[in-house]
């Protein structure tokens, strides 16, 4: 049984229409990768030369952009003069028992009970 006239024509149109729809649905990155891989396949043996050049440029850029350590200038060694000073003991704090502001007033040292 043969198909009706124009069946194959309609089938082909429908097939192309669906193919275009699927291509539109693909993300930009995937599409770009597809275009790039197609372009690369079309290059033939020259693709290896392009790839090697790209890798060389990447390594050179990374080397130039790498942060450098700060330049430390070492000073000439010199002897240091120092002396050990004994710590000044803190003055003892007295608790005055009476409100006597004269310098001679004597208080009590040490623990105070309240």
């Amino acid at each position: 049984m043969r198909p009706e006239e124009g069946y194959w024509q309609d089938f082909l149109c429908d097939f192309h229409h669906r193919q275009r729809q699927q291509a539109v649905k693909k993300s930009g990155l995937v599409r770009g990768l597809g275009v790039f891989s197609t372009w690369l396949s079309d290059l033939g043996p020259a693709k290896w030369a392009y790839t090697a050049g790209l890798a060389y440029a990447s390594i050179t850029a990374a080397f130039l952009l790498m942060p450098k350590e700060p330049q430390m200038e070492s000073l000439p060694a010199a002897p240091v003069r120092h002396e050990v000073v004994p710590a000044v003991p803190a003055a003892p704090v007295e608790q005055l028992g009476e409100l006597d502001l004269r310098p001679s007033a004597q208080g009590t040292l040490g623990e105070q009970s309240f």
Partner: protein, 300 residues
Amino acid sequence: MEDFAWLLRRVLQRILWVGVVAFPFCGVVLAQAVAVSPRWSVSFAGSEVITTASPLADGSMLVTVLPAGASPANVHLKRGNVDLAVKWSACDPVSRLVFLAPEEALEVRCPQWIGRARDVMGEAYVCSTTEGILKGVNEGWVKQRGEKVLPFALLRVSFDQLVPPVGTPLLDEQGRVAALLFQGADKGKAAYAIPAEAVLRVQQDIASSGKWVRGWLGLTLRPENQAPIVVKVAAGSPADQVGICPNDILLEVGGRVVTNYPDAANAFFYLSPGRPVRLKFLRGSQRWEITATPILAARE
């Protein structure tokens, strides 16, 4: 011309209103100043210093300050130039306050005393002396002199002209007694003053038992420590009974904020035996709040 007359009338009205408001206020303060001083003067055996005495709020007695080196045994009271017989007198050795009751009634409108000192640096005071009305300014608390911690905090007051006599009451802007002049400061026109609340605290004990009695909680602190850290707690003491432990750091005693040892010494001065006091302290990283009731200190 009409405008000028209108303006003049407005200015006169303003001046009249300011006068109406200011006159009673100034009158009250000055009347209080004259009422409390310098009617009474006190001299002590062994001292040439003549102090001023002030009536206390209840009119029961006068209070003055014992000058350094003077003996409280022989007290001579004068009202103006007239000698007055003293019924009894009592001296508190800690605060050096002398309370005395004359034979005859005071018969004077007694000033109000501030029960709790306000922490107002820059507050203005006035006082009446034989030299006239003097003005002073509160310069803040003095809790320590050099390496010596005072039994309680004094106020430092600077005066614009002269330092008034010892015992002179310093009145605030409402005519209430805020402090009693203790003695002149080392230099300049400044002096130390006993806050009114310290006078009232001592008077409370003098009136009931004849001497100031210390309230004791059983906490031990070291003056050398910057922070008010509890070093020891006496076994069975009020502090022990409410669960205070060594290494607790005091934050507040009886509503007085405590940040160092002199603050704590000042706050403990106001404790009364048998009167519960609220304590806030830090244990580790936690704040605690308890109420303890001081007892009579053993040495009293």
